[in-house]
């Protein structure tokens, strides 16, 4: 139990939807969500297949604890080959859609092929329909959700959909569910668009059962109490993730103006304090906090934009509340593009959710375009007459909308930073790894973060490892390899449970183990979970190697390896990846070329 033991396989080329039993042997090896979907991906496609080809597979995966009473049980992952990276993509989302998919009776929804016409999927427990989406194609995520609820006369329907960006293959298009939660990174929305799939609408009433209810409820009670009493949890609830902006400013790890600097003067105009301070019109940005399904943290922010602000003064349709700034959106619309106008940042966030795009990749791509503009490589002729100077708030919101609607220079921005920089002859200005843009941490100040970025299987990512403590303590490359490897494996387990990574503020593997072991069949020990995490990481690596990636892709831009940090606690330092990477490969049991050895694969039952 806890697994539904059922998957839904939809072939859009054939127009078929079939229910299959879950491969329980794989579930016992890979747990669920990220891990299990990776196994299904590996078994269902050739990793060399182009990400936008009908042969790519798009998997929506819940975990064994998704939909249970465990805190933060709303998570699901989208696993596919990413068009931004040509590597495995694994994007995790909250909201309520994932739990609903589980309540409808499915562990995984696997979408393959390509529909000849735009369609959406309507799932009501075992009743699955592939329906025409002609009326929805070309419309926004927000419109799509409203339309589907109305068309099916079901306000309880949960929807995951793409906007025009995803329809047109914007390389960092995401899949948005519940209006403002997203499987955000690596362009999973573009894959959905390439399949002519506009939306998945689901209602479920089967529910979820666990193996040992009494033991499970005790574990839930204990772990919820531990989480509630944790100071990190309290900060997430009260300040949201954006509390990080003050910490990174002080530390000198806040990437600014396309990583030319590591501190940003305007940080205090967009931090949590600014979000709760009335402006000159008496308008306060933040309204309240909000939880995803089952979550007792509630880090989400609900905000609104000053109606007198230039972005929406004549656009009443944006006068409502919606998802507000989190750290990564604040960073990607703030320091990295040099903008400190909180209403402009909030509006750009609205646009990302409405049109279905990843704020991190968009912001960092715009930052590269701004640097090219200031260098004179591109001009007003390229940018539809918009002055792309760092700090131009109007440029931020205008370009966000153009990219979302796939218009003008927005089509170029939609390539992502790597392809954009290559197009204009300056590949060195791309700030990311494997084609995916960096999150809001400069790896000259945070050395282990750099190693995590370089080795993350989905390209630059701050959520696949956790070496914050080590990075704060010591700003050299020493002692980072093993904690990076171990936290990557731990994170792979958390991402495979159906719960949120933010619980790790209070929970170690033991707390996940108590809940998994009570909910799932089989004996799940701490050791077994650790091995499962390492197995998942190595399987992802195998996918990438088979897709054609190599050691050469485990690297960082020269700006971080050769140009010293200009200020902050790491002033004068560069990232010491050359020291960390060999140690890391060794800790992983990989060859010096970054390939898992036979022994390693055998140890992990992957050979």
């Amino acid at each position: 139990m806890s697994w539904q033991r059922k998957i839904l396989r939809v072939d859009l080329s054939k127009g078929s939807a079939e229910i299959e039993p879950l491969n329980m042997e794989w579930a016992q090896q890979f747990l669920g969500e990220r891990g299990l979907a990776t196994k299904y991906l590996m078994e269902s496609m050739d990793p060399k297949t182009d990400a936008m080809d009908p042969g790519n597979i798009l998997i929506f995966a819940t975990g064994p604890l998704t939909g249970t009473m465990s805190s933060t049980s709303g998570r699901y992952a989208v696993v596919t080959k990413g068009p931004l990276t040509n590597a495995i993509a694994c994007s995790n989302s909250g909201g309520k859609f994932g739990a609903e998919l589980k309540f409808a009776g499915y562990d995984l929804l696997i979408v393959q092929g390509r529909s000849p016409q735009p369609v959406y999927l309507h799932i009501d427990n075992d009743n699955v329909e592939i329906l025409p989406a002609d009326e929805l194609w070309g419309t926004t995520v927000w419109h799509t959700e409203e339309w589907l609820k109305s068309r099916h006369q079901n306000p309880l329907l949960k929807v995951a959909s793409i906007g025009v960006a995803g329809e047109n293959g914007v390389r960092f298009a995401c899949i948005v569910n519940d209006l403002h939660r997203a499987a955000g990174r690596s362009g999973v929305g573009a894959v959905m668009g390439s399949k002519n799939l506009k939306a998945v609408a689901v209602h479920g009433s089967v529910g979820v059962r666990v193996d040992d209810p009494q033991r499970f409820m005790q574990a839930v009670k204990d772990t919820k109490a531990l989480l509630w009493d944790n100071a990190g949890r309290r900060e997430l609830t009260e300040l949201g993730t954006n509390a990080m902006i003050d910490a990174m400013q002080e530390f000198g790890g806040l990437p600014t103006r396309n990583f030319q600097e590591v501190q940003f003067d305007g940080y205090d105009k967009i931090d949590p304090n600014a979000m709760t301070t009335p402006n000159e019109h008496g308008h306060t940005n933040l309204i309240t906090n909000k939880a995803c399904f089952g979550c007792t943290i509630a880090c989400g922010r609900i905000a609104h934009i000053d109606q007198e602000h230039f972005t929406i003064v004549n656009r009443k349709e944006y006068w409502h509340a919606s998802g507000g700034l989190e750290y990564e959106t604040a960073y990607a619309f703030g320091p990295v593009v040099g903008v400190d106008d909180i209403d402009a940042l909030t509006f750009a966030g609205y646009l990302m959710n409405e049109h279905g795009m990843d704020p991190i990749s968009f912001g960092v791509t715009l930052a590269a375009a701004m640097e090219l503009y200031e260098m004179g490589v591109i001009s007003d002729k390229d940018t539809d007459g918009v002055a792309l100077n760092f700090g131009n708030a109007e440029a931020l919101t205008v370009m966000a909308e153009k990219t979302g609607k796939f218009e003008g220079f927005g089509q170029i921005l939609g390539l992502g930073s790597k392809r954009l920089c290559e197009k204009y002859g300056h590949p060195e200005l791309f700030m990311g790894v494997k084609g995916q843009e960096f999150a809001g941490y400069d790896s000259r100040a945070l050395q282990g973060m750099g190693l995590g970025y370089a080795t993350s299987n989905r390209g630059a990512c701050h959520l696949k490892h956790d070496t914050f403590a080590e990075d704060m303590e010591d700003q050299t490359g020493k002692g980072k390899a093993v904690p990076c490897k171990e936290s990557q494996d731990r994170t792979a387990v958390v991402d495979s449970t159906g719960l949120c990574l933010f619980t790790t503020a209070a929970w170690g593997v033991e707390e996940f183990q108590q809940q998994i072991d009570a909910a799932c069949e089989g004996d799940w020990s701490v050791e077994r979970l650790a091995a499962t995490g390492e197995r998942i990481w190595n399987l992802e690596r195998q996918f990438n190697l088979a897709a054609g990636l190599s050691k050469d892709d485990d690297t960082l831009p020269k700006r971080l390896l050769e140009v010293p940090a200009p200020s902050g606690t790491a002033k004068g330092k560069v990232n010491q990846l050359d020291m960390m990477l060999p140690e890391y490969y060794e800790a992983r049991g990989w060859t010096a070329d970054g390939v898992p050895t036979k022994e390693t694969l055998q140890r992990l039952d992957l050979s």
């Binding site: 009433s205 509630a298 609900i302």
Partner: protein, 155 residues
Amino acid sequence: MQKALLINPEKCTSCLQCELACSFEHEGVFNPAKSRIKVFEFEHGRRAIPYTCTQCDEAWCLHACPVEAITISPNTGAKEVNDNTCVGCKVCTIACPFGTVNYNADSGKVAKCDLCGGDPQCAEACPTGAITYVDANWTGYERMLESAVRAHPAA
């Protein structure tokens, strides 16, 4: 002392722990579709309001039932549905002015809040205190206290 559920929407984050707890207590399964308490969200989550039966003194559902399947618990005052008596006629679902009695097509019976026999699991599960179980005669106590402090800030 008779107690009542007190709902404070200002504190609700829309996490649905209450719906999970309710369905688990009554159906043995985590299934918000079978919850007797529902959380409603407005304007992209700007407001969230948990809503369930208020246990009317003169309960419309109880009076409407033709087979006397709805009775008053002597312990909690809750209006409880006896599944063995209920014939699934749904007249109570029409009679209830608040919509808090609903038909369950799987069981062929109606379902409503029964205060979990005096230990409501929704209140137990709520992390923020948006749902509490308090003295039925003093559901306004906390708000009265807050108003008093507001009216006399020096106190």
